[in-house]
């Protein structure tokens, strides 16, 4: 443990307005304020001495955040403290939003799933955030709350760069709304795709992670495709070119090749200690192809 505790302050607000007031006070505090949800990401650099002294605002005691995630019709809404384990335990999520369960299972060990939060994964804005591509694929929206009010925006509009986002210093992610996709009448079932290619099977950081949702009409023509990638760009990305390449056509071998070719324009992979640029590019193309592959319908 390389951080010196005395250099850090911790606030444990018990209600939302107190939490927001603390966040708003960040500008006046040396080192600012740092919201702390499940701590599974933040405490890694904290242990390593890589977090500058700050005031942690622990969200665990906030009364409003203790409500469990809820279903409103076809929309699943998670709070700031909804964990991966919470998701895995919800049978309706398993049935209607299976990508959330798939991602939660592979995101980290059970010990991490029991503590890590979806909102924290979004807030940290890591390009390797394994929880984000599935949320992007489901077209999730975020609710951001500050003392100035609330706003909602598409998750796809949230990230601005490597570990940066549109979230202001006084804003908290207070909800993540995930709509359940439904097939049109007579159409084939919605295709949901998730594959994480990590350094090992579980408890791994992804080299490439992909998630996709694909809707078709009764004739089998793709009406809507959403495909998202992690670890291949400074941010987790919607692969718009892949989506465009697949939309308006049947899922055949040519579609799969079009998706595989298109993905190159959706990413900017790099060499790092976990993998290589070339490998990531090849795997991403393979994942786009697999997403579109007709035999997986």
């Amino acid at each position: 443990m390389r951080s010196r505790l005395e250099d850090f302050d911790v606030a444990c607000p018990t209600n939302l307005s107190a939490a927001l007031a603390l966040l708003a006070s960040g500008a006046a505090r040396p080192g600012g304020v740092t919201p702390l949800a499940g701590a599974t990401d933040l405490y890694v650099p904290f242990n390593a001495g890589h977090v500058a002294p700050t005031t942690f605002v622990s969200l665990h005691a906030v009364a409003e955040f203790k409500a469990p995630a809820r279903w409103d019709g076809d929309i699943y809404t998670m709070g700031p403290l909804t964990t991966y384990a919470d998701c895995r335990r919800d049978p309706r999520v398993a049935r209607d939003l299976p990508l959330l369960v798939a991602a939660a299972r592979e995101l980290g060990a059970l010990q991490i799933q029991n503590r890590g939060t979806w909102a924290g994964n979004v807030a940290n804005a890591s390009p390797a955030a394994d929880g984000v591509p599935v949320l992007l694929a489901y077209d999730a929206t975020l609710e951001l709350t500050s003392p100035r009010g609330r706003r909602t925006l598409a998750l796809a509009d949230y990230f601005t760069g490597y570990k940066t986002s549109v979230r202001a210093g006084d804003e908290l992610i207070t909800a993540i709304a995930v709509p359940m996709p439904r097939p049109a009448a007579g159409a084939p079932p919605v295709r949901a795709f998730f594959r994480k290619v990590g350094t090992r099977r579980l408890q791994a950081i992804s080299k490439v992670v992909a998630a996709g949702v694909l809707e078709r009409d009764a004739a089998g023509i793709v009406t809507r495709a959403r495909f998202a990638l992690g670890s291949v760009a400074p941010v987790t990305v919607r692969a718009r070119a892949v989506e465009a390449a697949l939309t308006g056509r049947p899922l055949d071998a040519r579609a799969a090749e079009a998706a595989a070719s298109a993905v190159a324009t959706d990413m900017a992979p790099i060499d790092d200690m976990r993998s290589t640029r070339d490998y990531r590019a090849r795997i991403a193309a393979g994942l786009a192809r697999a997403f579109a592959a007709a035999d997986m319908a």
Binding site: M1, R200, Q203, Y279
Partner: protein, 735 residues
């Protein structure tokens, strides 16, 4: 009792959290130490600055100038300082030690020490090191060579010239981190008046004992080293504890004898401590068209890192295993270990042998493909058997039975798995090999290890040995050997925790020697003790023997029975010519593996693994299988996952997040089969076991990947990125 699997003696303590490791032990008034290390690979130290931000006057600070004795870490050569004071040879080299009672403050202070170093150009590859020395910039001797060996039998050059087929190949292995889950740690109390006592996590208390005297300027009798429960070693706690123990002792000395704790966190442990030597081995092999091996020329290069440490001995074992388990009358082995500006490489299970066995086994795979012979048939054709002679001139008295072991391994794997359309590539591979038990050549004679038994007043028997239980189960096996010989209950035998004030020097806990060598000493001591207690009377056992032993002590008769190593008859070795009996005994093994490779990710995974081995008599089947399974898992890690990424010679991925060990989710149960051929000079017939299983997985997996893809990868780890490149280069994998 021998051959049974009683619950390990420390089992209950370990599963209940009661076993106390070094970081668990309370020391009144303890100071927390920290090592300030370089971040440049080579240079000259100009000065040290202590920046404001902490109350420096409250700190204990040690630099080279504070060392009361010699600033030299005692191992083989006196080239490595405890604290650098002039020449900087590698990243993470220790320069300053600090300590304070407030651990958080120590961490903060560590960020406020500035080392002013004039950088010099480092060398990070064997070629660069040799080239740099040739231009006059040698850092060790005249040529940057730590050690060379030349082993020759017959005339390899002539045999190669005559060979019908010559196959050449070069094979490389990467560094590997031992990754004991308990990091390095010690506590020291040291002063001129009272001497020094060190408690810690270690394999070799007497290595530490030997090192502490010179650095503190103390005679041996004022040095005491106590091993605490040790959370894994695998070689990583063979020589490195000399360093950390010396550092803690220096801090305590400067602090006037207050206890100082130095426990590395994982980041420092992975960044700064020893790892397996990277290697490159080039083999030229001559064959007849039918596949008879007629000539071998093997050139072995090890990257030694910045200081000599144990590298010459590692190179020796690499050399002596380089020709593999194959008969060949004309062999030349040229081995060298070279300086680079990397943190020193060191002991790791297998100790050089896994590197060269990888090379020779992969080369047999390559040769089989060149010759158009099945790789298994090529091996069988050339297996060592009784009467064959190893490159050092040692003749095998017994047939190792490799062919039978290979049959058994293949039978255990069963029919090849059926491929599914679009499913993964499947491959099957084997490795066939041996591993020498105990120290090389005359090493055991020089060690002259001692171990003793002592009768307690109540008649129970105390085992006095410096051998450490680092998880492998030494204490349980010693208990079995002694209790078995005396015919008493296991509970009537107690292994005294290693403490150099109490136990004799039984040699280091390394080299697969503890059960075979030290266990044999204890078995002989038990014979002596039994004869003395029974004193010509009727034999006895169980509680009756314990009662007689108590009466023996009460009568004032000798309580202490010690034995010293004697070489088995007929074993001889000549260090000058590097010929003779390299090892008194060899363990033999065949590994067979089924591998799958994902068609998209190109990730290779082990689907099934069978390890057949002949280790003499199996003393404790559960512990023995545990040694094999654990060693195989480390070998699988080295082969498939564990990539030490180096920059300026130092590990950049020195976190568990980025240095990848296989987890339980990546691991299939490893199947072990023992052939037992009792060895005449080991306790109950046992030979060495600990290192053997490290040797086979990498080449067996390499062979399986070659089988699956038709592409032979000459370098580990077999990361999916490398497999993908290799498959592309070969024009795609098999359909």
């Amino acid at each position: 009792m021998i051959g049974e699997s009683p619950t390990r003696t420390d089992g209950a303590a370990k599963v209940s959290g009661r076993a106390l490791y070094i970081d668990d032990l309370p020391f009144e008034g303890v100071l927390h130490g920290k090592t300030i290390r370089t971040t440049v690979p080579r240079g000259r130290l100009r000065g040290v600055r202590f920046l404001p931000g902490v109350p420096w006057d409250e700190f204990v600070v040690v630099t080279a100038a504070d060392i009361p004795g010699q600033n030299v870490i005692v191992l083989i050569e006196p080239d490595q300082p405890y604290l650098a004071h002039d020449v900087i040879r590698h990243v993470a080299e220790p320069v300053v030690l600090i300590a304070h009672a407030d651990k958080g403050l120590v961490e903060k202070a560590a960020t406020l020490v500035a080392l002013d170093i004039d950088p010099l150009p480092g060398v990070f590859t064997i070629e660069d090191s040799v080239a740099s020395a040739a231009t006059g910039d040698a850092q060790h001797g005249a040529d940057n060579m730590f050690k060379r060996y030349h082993v020759a039998r017959g005339d390899a050059a002539a045999a190669l010239a005559k060979a019908e087929v010559v196959v050449e190949g070069t094979y490389e292995t990467g560094a590997q981190e031992q990754l004991y889950i308990e990091t390095q740690g010690v506590v020291a109390i040291a002063s001129a008046e009272k001497g020094v006592t060190v408690w810690g996590s270690m394999q070799c208390p007497y290595y530490v004992h030997k090192a502490l005297g010179p650095v503190l300027g103390l005679p041996p009798e004022k040095v005491r080293v106590i091993q605490t429960v040790t959370g894994g070693g695998f070689g990583g706690k063979e020589e490195y504890p000399n360093v950390i123990a010396g550092h803690a002792a220096l801090l305590s000395w400067k602090a006037g004898g207050r206890p100082v704790k130095l426990v590395y966190d994982r980041l420092e442990d992975m960044w700064a401590t020893t790892k397996r030597h990277p290697s490159r081995t080039t083999i030229r092999a001559g064959f007849t068209r039918d596949g008879d091996l007629t000539a071998l020329h093997i050139a072995v290069d090890l990257d030694g890192g910045a200081y000599v440490t144990l590298t010459p001995v590692v190179l020796s074992r690499a050399t002596l295993h380089a020709a593999g388990a194959y008969r060949c009358d004309d062999v030349t082995i040229e081995a060298r270990a070279v300086l680079t500006n990397a943190p020193p490489y060191g002991a790791f299970r297998g100790f050089g042998a896994p590197q060269t066995i990888f090379a020779i086994e992969m080369h047999m795979e390559r040769a089989a493909r060149v010759l158009g012979i099945d790789p298994l048939d090529l091996r069988r054709r050339n297996f060592l058997s009784a009467g064959d002679t190893l490159p050092t001139g040692q003749t095998l008295a017994e047939d190792p039975g490799l062919g039978t072991m290979l049959d058994e391994a293949l039978a255990a794997l069963g029919p090849r798995p059926a491929a599914t359309p679009g499913g993964p590539w499947h491959g099957r591979g084997v490795a066939t090999f041996f591993h020498g038990s105990g120290f090389t050549g005359s090493g055991e004679v020089k060690l002259a290890s001692r171990a003793a038994l002592e009768i307690a007043p109540d008649g129970r028997i105390r085992v006095l040995a410096a051998s450490t239980d680092i998880g492998q189960g030494t204490n349980t096996v010693f208990t079995q050997i002694v209790a078995g010989r005396l015919g008493i209950a296991l509970a009537a035998v107690e292994v005294v925790p290693p403490d150099t004030d109490i136990v004799p020097d039984s040699g280091p806990t390394v080299a697969s020697r503890t059960s075979m060598v030290v266990g044999e000493l204890l078995d002989r001591a038990a014979v002596d003790l039994k004869m003395a207690v029974e004193a010509g009377g009727p034999p006895s056992s169980g509680p009756e023997f314990v009662a007689r032993a108590a009466a023996h002590v009460a009568a004032g008769k000798p309580r202490h029975y010690e034995r010293q190593y004697e070489p088995p008859p007929g074993v001889s070795w000549d260090d000058a010519t590097y010929t003779g009996d390299a090892y008194a005994a060899y363990a033999w093994s065949v590994h067979a593996v089924d591998v799958t490779i994902d068609r998209l990710t190109h990730q290779a995974e082990v689907a099934d693994f069978v390890a057949v081995q002949e280790v003499g008599r199996v003393l404790h089947p559960i512990l023995a299988a545990g040694q094999i399974e654990g060693g195989v898992a480390q070998g699988i890690g080295w082969a498939l996952y564990e990539d030490v990424v180096l920059k300026d010679g130092a590990m950049v991925n020195h976190q568990l997040t980025n240095y990848i060990l296989p987890t339980a989710a990546d691991t299939v149960p490893i199947r072990t089969i023992f052939h037992e051929r009792p060895y005449a000079h080991g306790p109950g017939g046992a030979k060495g076991i600990g290192e053997l299983p490290m040797d086979g997985p990498a080449p067996a997996i390499g062979a399986a990947i070659a089988d699956a893809l038709g592409v032979l990868l000459p370098r580990i780890p077999f990361l999916p990125e490398r497999i993908l490149v290799a498959v592309d280069a070969a024009g795609g994998g098999k359909p």
